[in-house]
């Protein structure tokens, strides 16, 4: 048994190294004082400073943020309303199946197919309105499309877990429809809505494929910028940028973890 334990532990630690070694290397070289090559030439924070003077990167960071915030806001509202509509009304079984299938579509199809479909759809819509030219607007639409489903799934599972008892009790005490929604259902749902919104936000930051297909020349996001840079020429600024994104991810994950544990213990 001891031998097995040792084997399991070594394999597990090896796997963790496998996941982190490349990321650590990026962080390590982001403070390396050399412009070309990977030989160690001493510690510097220059690349981080240069990062904050690089107009293109700042613009990309701004785009990334706008994209994530706007798409998260819209998809959270749409997804929450959709989840309430699905769970709190007596739909016939067939209708439920259709709703379920539609909701699971963005979860189970490869994102590249969704991206291809969006490219084609925008191609047609462009003939109607110039709004659908590749750019920030079309990226926002693309992101909302996959976020809505995830938000709705998270909120719906929360709706199921809080049950209908409280709402029925409120109804027995003559609560009106509007009162029921605003004062009973939504406040109970808040943790689920926030969890859904955080998932949507991280999904937006994490996305590359949808953005890559729907982006225009002026709507470069950070992942798009890094992707293009790697294919062209890599500068140590890219290391610094990647390290910063990694740090932001760690903070976000820590926040999410904190939050979800709080709501679970409630």
């Amino acid at each position: 048994m001891k031998r097995i334990n040792l084997l399991v532990n070594t394999m597990a630690l090896g796997t963790i190294c496998f996941l982190y070694l490349p990321l650590m290397a990026v962080a390590f070289f982001s403070v390396n004082n050399t412009k070309y090559g990977l030989a160690w030439k001493g510690f510097t924070l220059d690349w981080y400073l240069k990062l904050f003077q690089n107009e293109v990167i700042l613009h990309a960071a701004w785009n990334t943020l706008v994209l994530a915030v706007v798409s998260t806001l819209v998809s959270t509202v749409l997804g929450t309303v959709l989840a309430i509509g699905m769970d709190r009304f007596p739909w016939p079984k067939r209708m439920n199946t259709i709703l379920d299938l539609t909701l699971h579509l963005p979860v189970v199809i490869p994102d590249i197919i969704l991206a291809a479909a969006l490219v084609v759809a925008f191609g047609f819509l462009r003939q109607v309105s110039s709004w659908f030219e590749p750019g920030l607007f079309s990226m926002i639409i693309g992101h909302i499309t996959f976020q809505v489903a995830f938000v709705a799934l998270v909120v719906r599972s929360r709706l199921i877990s809080i049950g209908k008892d409280v709402e029925e009790a409120a109804r027995d005490l003559y609560a009106s429809n509007a009162y029921l929604l605003w004062k009973i259902t939504l406040p109970l749902l808040i943790p689920g809505i926030i969890a859904g919104a955080m998932l949507a936000f991280t999904l937006s930051l994490d996305d590359f494929v949808i953005s890559f297909f729907t982006a225009g020349p002026d709507s470069v996001t950070l992942p798009l910028y890094i992707f293009a840079a790697v294919r062209r020429v890599v500068t140590p600024q890219i290391h610094a940028l990647s390290t910063l994104v990694l740090l932001v991810t760690i903070v976000l994950v820590a926040l999410m973890e904190r939050f979800s544990r709080k709501t679970n213990t409630k």
Binding site: I84, L105, P223
Partner: protein, 301 residues
């Protein structure tokens, strides 16, 4: 029909209730119809169209794109596209398989930690899961560079010529893919491993079962729910992946994702791109079908 019904202790006309429900459903559903279902259907239609001289669509409904996908071109039959499709399936299966093998020890390792530190270890796995795919791929790009020990070791062992990076190569694609998807397997699997009933494992040990039999009969069946979610979460996106093969495989290791991207990008042949997407879709649906036959519903969250 104005049927009255009791809903939430309230007496309502059924028609009104349906109207109210539709009001809730319509914004989200309308969105998904316009930007998800309809575009999907258009994609299907377009796969039967052709490409004009300037990359525009020509409505000549034919099976030409599918014939091309099957390898029938101007120069006779060449199975290039079929090979790329098969390779994508192989890479996805290989990635999933190795991720499963690596995930089990990882999950046992974390599950045996005391509760206090267990969530810290879990976060260690979640962080790469949430880190942007491009950055994770780039980090492999960096670590396989010629100046670093891995490439030097490979050169010493005469696997590559000195001064060469380890990319672009199939090996680099596999490394990148496994590190990309391992957390997708490990996280759902962990939720099963955490709830594992260890008394069954002990019972098996008391009865002198071999380690393999303990795993097959006492551990595997119990962890199957988490494992199957992990497998499907990996298999499907791994087939459509294009960032990893693009950066780490170059032109040497094309997967179907790159092929689709090429048609919508440089080649500007939407119709053929749509046909390849349909090919990928069929592969996806087939794997989902196999999965559904074993498990009753799709529960991904």
């Amino acid at each position: 029909m104005n049927r009255l019904m009791v809903w939430y202790g309230e007496l309502v006309v059924q028609k009104d209730l349906i109207k109210r429900g539709a009001l809730f459903l319509s914004p989200g559903m309308l969105w998904l119809m316009i930007f998800l279902v309809l575009p999907g259907l258009i994609l299907v239609v377009i796969s039967f169209a052709g490409r004009g001289d300037y990359g525009e669509l020509v409505w000549d409904f034919s099976l030409e794109n599918y014939r091309r996908l099957m390898g029938y071109g101007i120069f006779g039959w060449a199975p290039d596209y079929i090979l790329i499709l098969l390779r994508s399936v192989w890479v996805a299966i290989f990635t999933t398989g190795l991720s499963v093998i690596l995930s089990y020890p990882l999950c046992f390792f974390i599950a045996r930690k005391p509760v206090r530190t267990r969530y810290l270890w879990l976060m260690v796995v979640i962080i790469p899961f949430w880190t942007n795919m491009v950055i994770r791929t780039y980090s492999w790009f960096l670590i396989l560079a010629p100046e670093l020990p891995f490439a030097k070791l490979a050169a010493y062992l005469k696997l590559v010529s000195p001064g060469m990076a380890l990319y672009p190569s199939a090996f680099a694609v596999y490394l990148g893919m496994i590190s990309m998807f391992l957390p997708f397997v490990a996280l759902p699997l962990f939720s099963s491993v955490e709830r594992l009933d260890w008394t069954l494992v002990e019972a098996a040990q008391d009865l002198y079962a071999s380690n393999l039999r303990i795993f097959m009969h006492a551990i595997l069946p119990q962890t199957l729910p988490g494992l199957s979610v992990g497998i499907i979460l990996t298999l499907v996106p791994a087939m459509g992946m294009f960032v990893v093969p693009d950066l780490l495989g170059g032109a040497k290791y094309m997967l179907v994702g790159n092929l689709i991207q090429q048609q919508f990008g440089a080649s500007r042949d939407w119709a053929f791109g749509a046909a390849i997407s349909m090919g990928l879709m069929v592969l996806t649906m087939f794997s989902l079908y196999l999965y559904r036959r074993k498990n009753k519903g799709i529960e991904l969250l």
